[in-house]
Subunit: 294 residues, 2 copies
DNA sequence: GGTACATATGCTCAATTTGAGTATATGTAC
DNA sequence: GTACATATACTCAAATTGAGCATATGTACC
């Protein structure tokens, strides 16, 4: 075994947020970077350190926080290692801090299946991939699985895998052999976009079987707001009545006793999350209660 | 922001394996440690580095490998940070390497709900916890949720959370204020047992909705073997006929054309995993097809 | 050959859960 | 009070699941 290596360590944060029907991320440097900073010495857990540090930097109070992934790049300059520990944190959308946020889908347009323009882009991507895969059956299958082609159906949780595939296929700016024909979302510095893709995959998986969506909502909310948050994150439409049934039957929420004050239409009841429901709610078994494709 | 901190970095590996009906882990130092070593310099990805390093050390070829969690302990000696990046890797049970393995349930006896002795232990743990929680409603609820008391049911995926709760309650040796009344599984050095608990939780979650179980099985296997691997990991019995139905209906496997040669009983067909099935199989929606509690 | 055993495999059926609607209620703006 | 927009209630067939019984096919031993 080789000698112990000293290296630098950094924390990277993906701060997520939902504004009405858009999932947002806090970015720096004109949308090209995620907040990050060196790991300091001291007796705190990484998680606590991150929270404190983000609060100092942005004034934002973090909700659910979770570690994503640790990358270890080799620095070209001195061949030393740079360890990047990435975290995802959810911010309640009621918090009125003005922070520079962008839609996650600015970076992954193909992930928003509610947007018809983006779906046209997806068509072009798929064509390119078909060409890229050529006669390689393994890659053909991979493309089919990841992009929901014929035998398969679209799986929103595979956002990270899709990004990695596009990277390999040279379809994103960060790729080594980028081929610039297709407008494939905003690029970011370093590995940041990959970290963001990791966060998207993770949060999409987690909203299904935990109560993390509620960390993105204000204290009280309507069922429509809840549904919109889910739709924003999952990037697809859901069946309204069935969604309500799912939520109410499981007693995940309780009435807050007040009503919404909408611009139009009948005011909706306000609800609040029932902490007794705990972490394990099935806000959608494995499949989301989708709306039928038009 | 403080100055950049240099720190040491280590890799830790949880190597998992299933022997008939027991989930095993490769350990060192008489079961007290997990294989670990310093992160070396060099241009490889962490994952590749880990694989190569484990192969060198143990001669074992790794199947599915995945990052678990990164811990950052503060060293007492010089106040520097030690970053530990932990990985879980699955080993096909056909590999005939003789490696020193222990049952995972030696470390977490309460997690094996197939074992009646262990369930007696669980009774005692729950009593202790009730006493520990006292009148603190939050902790009472937490205990109830994690240990499947009245309103809740047992959730095998919460192994990590349970370990953390026991740690806080001073019921495991590693805890700061350990109270040694209850024989609560073998202890390990440093954070290793926590890393192992992370792996257990992770693998239990993953076998439900991905094909990782197959990485633990030999090339061809019977449906019973598949079921036993699931049962070993989940720590509970499953309904045989319904399990078969689930697997066969989804076409996750194909007949290998040969038969098992058992000691007793009718020989079972051998199957092999169908790679076309891809990663996303629902080997159990959210709930496992359990056998009714006698 | 036949009996005991042990496991594999096939099949049934009621109870739930899901998918996709239709129908009705209750607010605002004009 | 009419148009609109959204909320909420309820229905019903299809699919999935939970639990079980029945039958098939092997070995070991008399």
């Amino acid at each position: 075994m080789k000698q112990t290596a000293f290296c630098r360590a950094e924390l990277v944060a993906v701060l997520l947020n939902v504004r009405k029907d858009t999932p947002c991320v806090l970015t720096l440097e004109n949308g090209q970077a995620l907040p990050s900073g060196p790991l300091t010495m001291g007796g705190h857990s990484l998680q606590k350190e991150l929270c404190r540090w983000v609060e100092q930097q942005t004034g934002v109070v973090l909700g659910h926080t979770e570690q994503l992934y640790t990358f270890a790049d080799t620095q070209v300059a001195d061949k030393s290692r740079l360890v990047r520990i990435s975290y995802m944190a959810l911010i309640s959308s009621h918090s009125d801090q003005t922070i520079a946020e962008r839609s996650i889908y600015d970076y992954f347009p193909w992930e928003d299946r509610r947007n018809t323009e983006a779906q046209a882009l997806l068509q072009r991507i798929v064509l390119w991939l078909k060409n890229w895969a050529g006669k390689n059956v393994v890659q053909q299958r991979r493309c089919a699985r990841l992009f929901g082609l014929p035998p398969h159906s679209w799986n929103d949780e595979l956002a990270l895998d899709r990004y990695e595939l596009l990277w390999e296929a040279g379809l994103v700016h960060e790729a080594k052999h980028f081929e610039g024909q297709i407008q494939s979302g905003l690029p970011m510095q370093a590995d940041f976009r990959r970290v963001l893709a990791t966060a998207l995959s993770r949060v999409r998986a987690k909203i299904r079987y935990t109560s993390v969506v509620f960390d993105l909502l204000p204290e009280t909310f309507t069922l429509l707001q809840l549904q919109q948050a889910m739709e924003a994150l999952a990037g697809c439409w859901m069946h309204k009545q069935n969604f309500r049934r799912l939520v109410l039957q499981q007693k995940l929420v309780e009435e807050a006793g007040a009503f919404d004050t909408p611009q139009q239409g009948r005011p909706a009841k306000l609800y609040r999350f029932r902490p007794e429901a705990g972490q394990n709610c099935y806000l959608a078994g494995a499949k989301l209660p989708l709306t039928p494709l038009l």
